[in-house]
């Protein structure tokens, strides 16, 4: 088994708002090994962006981390100093965001943005890229993102490029210098289907060839299915199921996973379910039990009062659900 790169243990994150505390992330455990591609799937409001921001320490002002550890290469991110965090962001972890338009400064040329990012990056040995090599590094990075004519792109402003090109530039920037972990938060949500396919293939190729670990965060199960080796299904700030990608999508156990799968329109036809009844968790008062219990057609009385145990139903396939706790014991 490959080495562990990232280990999130019992993470608890909330937000302070007018009416109290939004207790969003409720004891999440996630592991990423070196070279692995892991997916975190969840719908809007499930807390996936909160997890991503906690890893790089960029939660908004109202965010509060109330427990847990995020160990990257053995060091706890949550207790890092500002300097250590900047090394984290400059060398170890790269992040790709959803909207390349708002993530690129519109008044700076691509060349300036890239030279800033490359200039602030650190090599694995702690040194920085010397000024003389920045341009060359940028050109190579753009080339590896299949962007023709890198010099023209470096001299352009973001608005002069198409959406697909901007996302490629972003990927180029993220992988311009050696990294250990790539965090991709909905990297293709605003792109056309054909462009999305090209971008996803690009990410996959580059990540594999440089042995970079990846966490892909998305609400689209289909993208996660195409791009990842293992997947964590998130609901209401908790991991409800985790497995190898193929296993989870071919054979989902958790009632939420099953309900979600039936909602997805399939290319093979068959219609779609009528949605999942009930409403998203009220984070102000989520209660102690399973966060999906109020919407679950199979909820048992214990589901409302006790947090469900994480049960291994098959090798490598775990579900947080009382319905399967017998399986563990047997």
């Amino acid at each position: 088994m490959a080495d562990l790169l990232l280990s999130i243990t019992d993470l608890k994150v909330g937000y302070r708002v007018y009416k109290g505390q939004l207790k969003v992330i409720n004891g999440v455990n996630i592991e990423v090994r070196k070279g692995e591609r892991v997916g975190i799937v969840g719908e809007t409001g499930s807390g996936k962006t909160t997890i991503a921001r906690s890893i790089t320490g960029i939660l908004p002002k109202a965010g509060r981390i109330s427990g847990g550890k995020i160990l990257l290469d053995g060091k706890d991110v949550l207790t890092m100093s500002a300097h250590e965090l900047s090394i984290l962001r400059g060398q170890k972890v790269a992040m790709i965001f959803q909207d390349p338009t708002s993530a690129l400064n519109p008044v700076l040329k691509i060349g300036s943005i890239m030279s800033d990012i490359i200039g602030y990056a650190y090599n694995p040995d702690g040194s920085r890229i010397p000024k003389s090599q920045i341009h060359e590094t940028a050109v190579n990075a753009l080339g590896s993102a299949s962007l023709p004519d890198p010099d023209r792109i470096l001299a352009s402003y973001p608005f002069q490029l198409s959406g697909g090109m901007r996302q490629r530039v972003f990927i180029a920037m993220a992988l311009a210098t050696p990294r250990e972990l790539l965090l991709a938060d909905e990297p293709t949500t605003n792109l056309d289907v054909t462009i999305q396919d090209q971008i996803l293939r690009l990410i996959k190729t580059r990540v594999d060839e440089r042995h970079v670990s990846m966490i892909l965060i998305s609400h689209s199960l289909d993208i996660v299915s195409e791009m990842t080796d293992r997947v964590y299904m998130l609901y209401g700030g908790t991991v409800v199921e985790q497995a190898n990608t193929r296993d989870l999508f071919e054979n989902p156990y958790h009632p939420y996973s099953r309900a979600l799968m039936s909602c997805i329109p399939k290319l093979s036809g068959g219609g779609i379910a009528s949605g999942i009844s009930g409403e998203m968790v009220n984070y102000l008062a989520p209660g102690n039990g399973c966060r999906f219990s109020s919407r679950c057609s199979k909820a048992l009385p214990v589901c409302v009062t006790e947090p469900p145990p994480m049960v291994e139903v098959e090798p490598g396939h775990r579900v947080a659900c009382f319905l399967f706790s017998e399986k563990q014991r047997s």
């Binding site: 809007t44 697909g164 056309d192 396919d197 090209q198 909602c263 329109p265 779609i272 949605g275």
Partner: protein, 333 residues
């Protein structure tokens, strides 16, 4: 089958200023729609599929009268409405064709409550008498599965899916016959999308509605549409009944689209065409090259594709392709 909407060779050009090589500003036509023809029968769901830049939203806006068409005809029932911009349409016509827009964040006025937004169509068209407006609003909310409490809520306090339900209720308030759905679920999660789509299908049968469904999501089209029209750079390149379309996709662009669709299950993976992979990007509609619009990206292009505009050929009944590869009329390809 009653033909409700018929669009014949529709064109919409936007004049734009372009800097030319000689540095003198030139006005060029951005051909958003360049000769589009299709029809929608009563009770059908016709899917208009395309990526950004294909002109599908412009088509919707032009049919609604938000733009004035540059050429071609739009027929609604037996009325020629091609020259009727929204301001010139009689109220009775505005009633018949309604729309649900894509972005639930901006399609409802943020400073008006749900109830106030729903009252507008009722008042404008005098659907009910003054005293009964509030009651009718509650009925409308119930039709889309929302409780009466939503009446006093502001859009920012309800989720995207619920806002779309309100937008649907608003469109239905005037009893239209044709509803144009412009990417109604693109901004929503899968479970919310399922809820909205199921609601739309139920309403369609219950109220005998016809839908013009604009989307780029082919998996959704497979499960919802009666017929499919594929748009690229302002023209329709393939048109067929849904089952025919998915079992036998003919046009290279269609095959590229299908091969790009991300899927969840193995069963679906087997259905995707493997031989064509997505390459290239849609060009700027201002600079449409001569010949077939798809030619620059086409992996199986012939010589004449970059010179002439391909004809639309009916390969099987109801299945039309605009491509030289299928043009048996001319001998040498």
């Amino acid at each position: 089958m009653e033909e409700l909407l018929k669009v014949e060779n529709l064109k919409k050009y936007f004049p734009v200023n372009v800097a030319s090589i000689s540095h003198r500003r030139k006005t060029v036509d951005l051909k958003a729609i360049d000769g589009v023809s299709f029809y929608v029968n009563r009770g059908e769901t016709v899917a208009l599929v395309g990526e950004s830049g294909s002109g599908k939203s412009t088509t919707a806006d032009t049919i609604l009268g938000l733009y004035k068409s540059t050429g071609g005809e739009i027929w609604f029932r037996d009325m020629d409405i091609s020259t009727m911009v929204i301001a010139k349409r009689p109220l009775s016509l505005k009633k018949e064709i309604q729309v649900v827009f894509q972005d639930p964040g901006t399609s409802l006025n943020p400073r008006r409550t749900v109830g106030q937004s729903l009252e507008v169509p009722l008042r404008v068209h005098n659907i009910v008498e003054k005293g009964k407006v509030s009651e009718r609003v509650k009925e409308l909310l119930a039709t889309v599965g929302l409780s009466p409490e939503y009446m006093d809520k502001y859009p920012r306090t309800i989720g995207g899916g619920e806002r779309q339900l309100v937008a649907i209720a608003r469109a239905l308030a005037v009893h239209p016959s044709l509803v144009i759905l412009d990417e109604p679920t693109s901004a929503l999660d899968e479970s919310m999308q399922a809820k909205i789509i199921t609601m739309l299908v139920k309403l369609q049968t219950g109220l005998n509605l016809s839908y013009l469904f604009i989307t780029h999501n082919l998996s959704l089209v497979r499960n919802v549409a009666t017929r499919v029209e594929i748009m690229y750079l302002g023209k329709i390149y393939e048109s067929a009944a849904t089952l025919d379309f998915f079992t036998k996709p003919l046009h290279p662009y269609t095959q590229m689209l299908l091969s790009s669709v991300p899927v969840v299950t193995e069963a679906e993976r087997k259905l995707k065409p493997k031989h064509i992979i997505s390459t290239g990007e849609i060009p700027n509609p201002v600079n449409v090259p001569p010949g077939c619009g798809f030619c620059p990206r086409c992996p199986v292009k012939l010589k004449k594709c970059s010179e002439e505009d391909p004809p639309s050929v009916e390969i099987m009944p109801g299945h039309v392709v605009k491509c030289f590869l299928y043009d048996k009329g001319r001998a040498n390809g």
